[in-house]
């Protein structure tokens, strides 16, 4: 097994997979009409270059387990389109203002057109999974089943989180947060790409429990880091507005810790703030977010050690991810693709953007 030179080499390989997927995605979306009120919007987020971690994980895992890029490219396009569909709708639900360094789609075109474009992206994501794929019918059906299950879990997770906000749920444990992100984020970010990569590459013969475990640890550690970056990262590199999670009342690990660690008067103020945010979101008037200043909440988090808690907690999950990789890929022969999957773990968990 060769050692990767460093994160730059991972980024180069990642960029290669990302380009491959983006080109396939562009072919998939090209020439569709009507352009002005639908497909121009549909093509917007996919054209804002993301890192392409999901398709890269899928393509590399498939090859590591013995498959080819050609076999996994359709599902790679599918997951990237579904990801963009989720982003469009999430941005509306969260009232987000920026996505990948540019204004969100609903700010550019209005909510009705953005919702419709998100619907279109979700439907278009199913097309690359049809029988035209260079996969056997048996594997193709399993990939489709996995895709539908993943969509269901992601939507359910989103509903749970929105419900927490709407009902102003404040008595949460870190385990509740992990359960949430398992469904809402991990499935489609890491678990599904790893499972489907192994499924295709091994022609359905590889046991999937170990890659599921690895995917969860990796996705959870990644999400905790992403939540931290929203508070202390660089807006230019992060691509979204900083402190957006605090404005939206998102139940992050840091907020859950703060709610438990805050003094009674601080907690009362915080709970009242979250209730005001929930009312504001339910009204959907788009005006300024009421309640506490996000900077004030951040100060409380720093003062009570919530950021440090989340960081350390995430490091524990990350350590589990490294362990789980070794278990999941124990039977996989050495190859550059296996090495890439191994190298992407520190890349995802030590990124600053």
């Amino acid at each position: 097994m060769r050692a990767w030179a460093g994160l730059e080499e991972v980024e180069t390989t990642l960029a290669g997979y990302s380009r491959l997927t983006r080109e396939a995605m562009e072919r998939h979306l090209a020439g569709r009409l009507p352009a002005r009120h639908l497909y121009d919007l549909v093509r917007d987020y996919p054209s804002r270059a993301g890192k392409g971690i999901r398709p890269a994980l899928l393509l590399a895992t498939c090859q590591a387990f013995g498959g080819t890029v050609d076999e996994a490219l359709g599902p790679a396009v599918a997951i990237e389109l579904a990801h963009n569909a989720f982003l469009v709708h999430d941005d509306i639900e969260d009232g987000s203002r920026q996505r990948r360094g540019l204004p969100t789609l609903h700010r550019l075109h209005g909510t009705p057109l953005a919702v419709n474009a998100g619907d279109a992206l979700a439907v278009l994501a199913l097309e690359p999974l049809r029988d035209g794929m260079p996969l056997s019918g048996r594997v193709s059906r399993r990939v489709s089943d996995e895709f539908l299950a993943m969509l269901g879990r992601t939507i359910e997770g989103q509903a749970v989180e929105l419900g927490w906000r709407a009902d102003n749920v404040v008595d949460l444990e870190p385990t509740d947060y992990l359960e949430l992100i398992f469904r809402k984020t991990c499935w489609y970010t890491t678990v599904w790409p790893l499972r489907v990569g192994a499924l295709i590459g091994s022609a359905g013969t590889a046991p999937l429990a170990a890659v599921t475990r690895f995917g969860f640890y990796l996705g959870a550690a990644f999400q905790i880091r992403d939540d931290l970056l929203n508070l202390v990262g660089s807006e230019e590199r992060y691509g979204k507005e900083l402190l957006g999670d605090l404005r939206e009342g998102k139940r992050t690990l840091m907020l859950i810790h703060l709610l438990a660690a805050a003094a009674p008067d601080e907690r009362r103020a915080l709970v009242a703030h979250l209730a005001a945010v929930a009312e504001h979101q339910a009204a959907g008037d788009g005006g300024p977010v009421p309640g506490m200043d996000p900077g004030e909440i951040l100060d409380l988090m720093v003062g009570h050690g919530s950021l440090e808690f989340a960081f350390q907690f995430g490091q524990g999950v990350a350590a589990a991810a490294y362990e789980a990789f070794a278990q999941a890929f124990a039977d996989v022969p050495a190859s550059p693709h296996r090495d890439f999957v191994e190298a992407i773990v520190p890349y995802m968990l030590e990124r600053s953007a």
Partner: protein
């Protein structure tokens, strides 16, 4: 990144953390209490999920990448190759059947009135009986037009390879005349009397008077007479 400037022991910036040399989590003695809490909470979530799945196996307690654990990598590759070969053959069979089904469907969806045997689609109707008995089969008339169709069924002479013929009048249809509503089908029972007919294979057609394009090839197999009681 550490928000408070702390570094996790053994996790340098930009480097890779090697898998622990012992079993799951056991060698991570340098973990802080919060780190271990994160690890345990995550394990609780994922193991709870996996335990609900069929075929779940808990993570092995021993070293992750020790030789001798689990099946040989070569075995996994062999298993994959066999699965791919089986998939290839099963897909070939499936596609062949799908191609046949498409042909049948096209024929059924062709607009017109058609004659078919018991099974829809191209082919012929075979009826069989011993010499002296009566051979029977079912003929279907499918009307896929938008108009009422009427037909009188008739049997052509059936001819063997040596020129021996069974006259068409040996055949009877019940009903002999049919009126078929648009989009409907009608079945008619065919009976061919084989008195004095020598054993052999005879071929002819079922025709429908009033429907000049409709014809169903018929194969009549006459076997030796059944032995009488001793």
């Amino acid at each position: 990144m550490s928000p408070a400037g702390n570094q996790v022991e053994g996790n340098g910036q930009g480097g890779r953390r090697r898998p622990a040399p012992f079993g799951p989590f056991e060698a991570l003695s340098s973990l802080t209490e919060v780190q271990r809490r994160g690890m345990d909470a995550a394990a609780q979530v994922i193991e709870g999920f996996l335990s609900a799945l069929d075929g779940h196996q808990p993570p092995p307690a021993g070293p992750a990448d020790q030789p001798g654990d689990g099946p040989e990598p070569g075995f996994a590759q062999l298993r994959t190759s066999v699965a791919r070969a089986l998939d290839l053959y099963s897909d070939l069979v499936r596609r062949s059947f799908e191609g046949y089904a498409d042909l049948v469907e096209q024929r059924l969806h062709a607009r017109g009135v058609g004659l078919h045997g018991a099974a829809p689609g191209p082919g012929e109707l075979t009826v069989q009986a011993p010499s002296g008995a009566t051979a029977g089969g079912t003929v279907w008339l499918h009307n896929t037009t938008d108009e009422l169709a009427a037909a009188v069924l008739r049997l052509t002479a059936l001819t063997a390879h040596d020129g021996t013929a069974v006259p068409g009048t040996a055949g009877r249809f019940d009903p002999a005349e049919a009126r078929i509503a648009p989009g409907a089908s009608v079945a008619a029972r065919l009976a061919v009397g084989l008195a004095g007919v020598a054993p052999g294979v005879y071929r002819g057609h079922v025709l429908a008077e009033g429907l000049p394009e409709a014809a169903l090839p018929l194969r009549l197999v006459v076997t030796a007479p059944a032995p009488g009681p001793p």
